[in-house]
């Protein structure tokens, strides 16, 4: 198929910005916004009315709206980037440590770990993400591992200003008892190579990376476009790997609300308790949305509604596109 993306998309670009702006306006008028996460004290300070939305299409057009340049704590969205790094490091051996099935459980459940002898169900529940970070750590000092993660995200976003919010990291370090429980539990089964404190230290810092919707949407492009940075043409990962990461995002990216997200939005996505969601429309675009209020499954309430609207209006669902 000889479709010329550049031409196509330049025609589409004005529509894209209008759709993004319209949705932002509609979201701002909604009163029900979910509840801001309070279990990390630092996160509770954010303005609950914040809303940002950015879409970057195949031609590199950027449609942005709302608080699209305000950095927020990406939290679990970071798991997409560490998964990519760990796969680059150890390849399919990663799956000896972590499964890739939806968990049917909340993000911080420990029950599944007991039934499956310490092997987390997938890399996007907390336990799985800690195990992935442990893989990145191996052979490195914590500072180096963290540096590797941050540099990778800066590269993807083409923005060297991205950094870690140390206050958030320290807040999690002090209060993340559930994550300490998960990590110690896996350690008791030999799933972690490094000391629990070391692995969690890196994990809490990766979660505390602050990014704007614009930066996040930039960083997600390689997943939307078969592993390549579409502006430079550089290959980040092979097409097959990009597809597979998308598959895990679709089945596991929203904890115990992953089925709901697939049903309503129809796009691979990964949410964080900071209220951000990175969504990927393969071949079409990379999308980042941010609204801090969460639904009961821990996913951004307005963020999900906004993505549902966006996917519908642009016809971008992977489950059937209007053409």
């Amino acid at each position: 198929m000889s479709r010329n993306n550049l031409v196509d998309m330049s025609k589409q670009a004005p529509d894209l910005q209008r759709v993004v702006s319209d949705i932002t306006d509609e979201m701002r008028q909604r009163s029900e916004r979910g509840a801001v996460a309070t279990y990390i004290p630092e996160l509770a300070r954010v303005d609950a009315k914040s809303f940002g939305l950015v879409v970057i299409d195949a031609a590199g057009n950027v449609a942005a709206s709302g608080d699209c340049d305000q950095p927020f704590s990406i939290q679990s969205v970071s798991k997409v980037f560490t998964l990519t790094l760990a796969l680059g490091k150890v390849g399919d051996r990663l799956w000896q440590r972590v499964g890739r099935e939806p968990s049917g459980s909340p993000f911080n459940s420990i029950v599944q770990l007991e039934f499956e002898r310490g092997k987390p169900r997938n890399p996007f529940i907390n336990a799985g993400a800690i195990a992935v970070t442990d893989v990145i750590l191996s052979g490195n000092r914590p500072r180096e591992a963290l540096g590797e993660i941050v540099r990778f995200i800066r590269l993807l976003a083409d923005d060297p200003s991205i950094s870690i919010d140390e206050a958030v990291a320290a807040s999690e370090q002090r209060t993340g008892y559930r994550n300490f429980a998960l990590a110690n539990y896996m350690k008791s089964f030999g799933v972690l190579d490094n000391a629990v404190e070391t692995a969690l230290g890196v994990y809490f810092h990766q979660c505390a990376i602050a990014m704007s919707c614009r930066q996040l949407a930039m960083a997600g492009r390689f997943l939307a476009f078969l592993g390549r940075d579409p502006s430079t043409g550089h290959s980040i990962v092979k097409p097959e790997r990009a597809r597979r990461i998308n598959a895990i995002m679709l089945t596991c990216g929203h904890y115990d609300g992953s089925g709901e997200f697939a049903y309503r939005v129809g796009l691979p996505g990964k949410s964080g308790v900071g209220g951000g969601i990175l969504a990927v429309a393969p071949g079409k675009g990379s999308i980042a949305v941010w609204s801090p209020g969460l639904d009961t499954a821990g996913n951004s309430h307005l963020g999900t509604i906004a993505l549902e609207a966006l996917s519908n209006r642009l016809g971008w669902s992977v489950f059937g596109q209007l053409s």
Copy 2:
């Protein structure tokens, strides 16, 4: 996008047949085939070496190979058709009875039912499918409900010869203790309206419908093409509903192997313990494969491998298509 499907596909058609034939040859040479289901005695009699594969593209080209006209017991693949019927009957009210999240459990698990007070996690685990059949039954006599299901499948497949294998139905009725347990359990929570025996009677018969790969691929076209029968243009369901059924197939269609299927194949699909899988490539084609040997999660072993090869070679994964 003004792509002319007919022209496109007629060019592609020869390739499609070659890909289908090649894969069939490769599968026939494999020695590891998984284990044929024996828990339903009638199913155990099938020839373990059977293999069939059919793909129907957007232009209506049919690429078929192997035992593609041999009817087999569709078993859980029937759940796609009853879900479609039930949504047509009661719409989104269906979701009050059945969830749409992956279960993180085997197909016949009862644990989840206890934790969630009798509400099945999704319409594709056994409990959920029984609840869906109960909805179709309501207000009808069993024979009528069953007739409705069979007529719907005949319509979709455009083949009035499709029928129920009564020996299989009787075999399940005699030995389906686990399903009786699930149904009674839901009944104790008031999730079923009809008598347990009645609901299960219809359910066992729907599972005992026998179809060939050709018939199954025909019947799945409406899901691949936005709810329409692409040959007649008739609308079976609205585009949105087709997309949503695809989403549930992708996240829940392979029991506790759904994540694995999404990861490897990248297409919405629904498997049955008879060894059949219906897979849907939105906008591209409807695919049916049959190989009776199952993997440990209860999905066709060679069927999955064949679909993985097909999706790779045709670039049909929903998670990133080569164009």
Copy 3:
């Protein structure tokens, strides 16, 4: 120890009656009575204010008070008698089918069955009791098995008038979906030899046996006195077996309230949702209490309080007796 029970107890007898009468008076003045079971419609018709208490000591003295001659549905108390019968029939082979550990779960939980492949944790949860009844059934017709159970209880109670309340049995047969679920689930693992309907038919009838506190206390004497009927000296079971049945009553006799009952009352006991409890003070006496209101664990609310008072005042706890 040459303690002459007869002399001892005749001296104690007046006190025993006074203690029993006092406790009955105190219970009658309490307003909080728990909730009468409604899941079996016939049980819901009982007078919630009923209260009966009977103690029979080693000398055969009977202290009785309140509604002590009013028959009630013994329900799960019957499990003590069927366990005794089944052990008599197959001996320790019974433990291949049923465990003897507390379940840590409600009486009708099915979760444990899934984790332990259909083997019930103990003979006093519903699943375990159904498996025990299945053992009694084997080789018999249902009517014969039921006759054997009723005759055994009549023998123990020395009262040929004890019979089954057919209305209650029919009520359970119609509405006992949870028990049908449990039985079918076990059947799917091959734990039951007989047809599910047959085993449950006998089980529902044994639960529907109606007995008064006086009859129940009579029937429990063999457990209090090392397996013998103390009035006739006849041996019902060997001392070792009586002790072991008592052990199971203490650890498992009150479902997920067994620890609580041991802690507060300190006696082996078995409760039923009809509001009856049979308690055993080894070497001291056999006790039956009845009050239909249940606590959240499904055990008689006032019955437990009455037994706690009785055990305290008589110093009968097995965990340390005042002498």
Copy 4:
């Protein structure tokens, strides 16, 4: 009952020593000894053939045999003493933090904690014991709390030489990931007042207390004799509290083998992974046995067999005594 314990027991004493010696001889001849715990490296160094048995009766007679003066790591047997201390400190308020039901799960299960929001089922599973230690800690520094525990055990055993094996404590501190998981998990629900490291520091040290069978049997007398030290007549706890602790030992003292121990031995008891068991025959005697090999539930294999023999030969089962 005016039974003079001293006279009675002096007559019984020669028999008691013979029974104890006989059983020790029999145990020494058995080849199947279970497996020594290796998860705490220091524990793995013990001689697997060690066997000690001590019984102290109501008259203060001590029957001892085998390695009865060899100190071993009491591990979870310490939980009986910390439970007693914590009840002394906060009384029944303790039960707001910890339940008193059998768990139906292994000693280190975390599943139950998730289902019951961080509240351990009973004080004898690891999570419950950590919560109990946290109560003793509150308001104290770790060193003081630990000193209080050690002094209490020395007082009970009337032996100031009892001390902590620091190598074992250090070994657990380094490798007790599962306990770190449990403690962090409870901390996340607010069940612990103190820092996780602090509570576990005290807990690991209490488990590392080394005692001989003689010391342990001495320390258990207050439970056998209604809360009193029978030699001095001093009251340690009220009779009611001694009975209740015995009740918890009987229903929960052997983890997921508690039902089995009650069934076979018929005495309240508490085991530790060091291979020790403290058993209590109310009104009769205090018993300590030690054999390091464990069965699959983590209880001393020969220790349980020895106690079964002892209970049978002396007729000491609480479930029916020969008189």
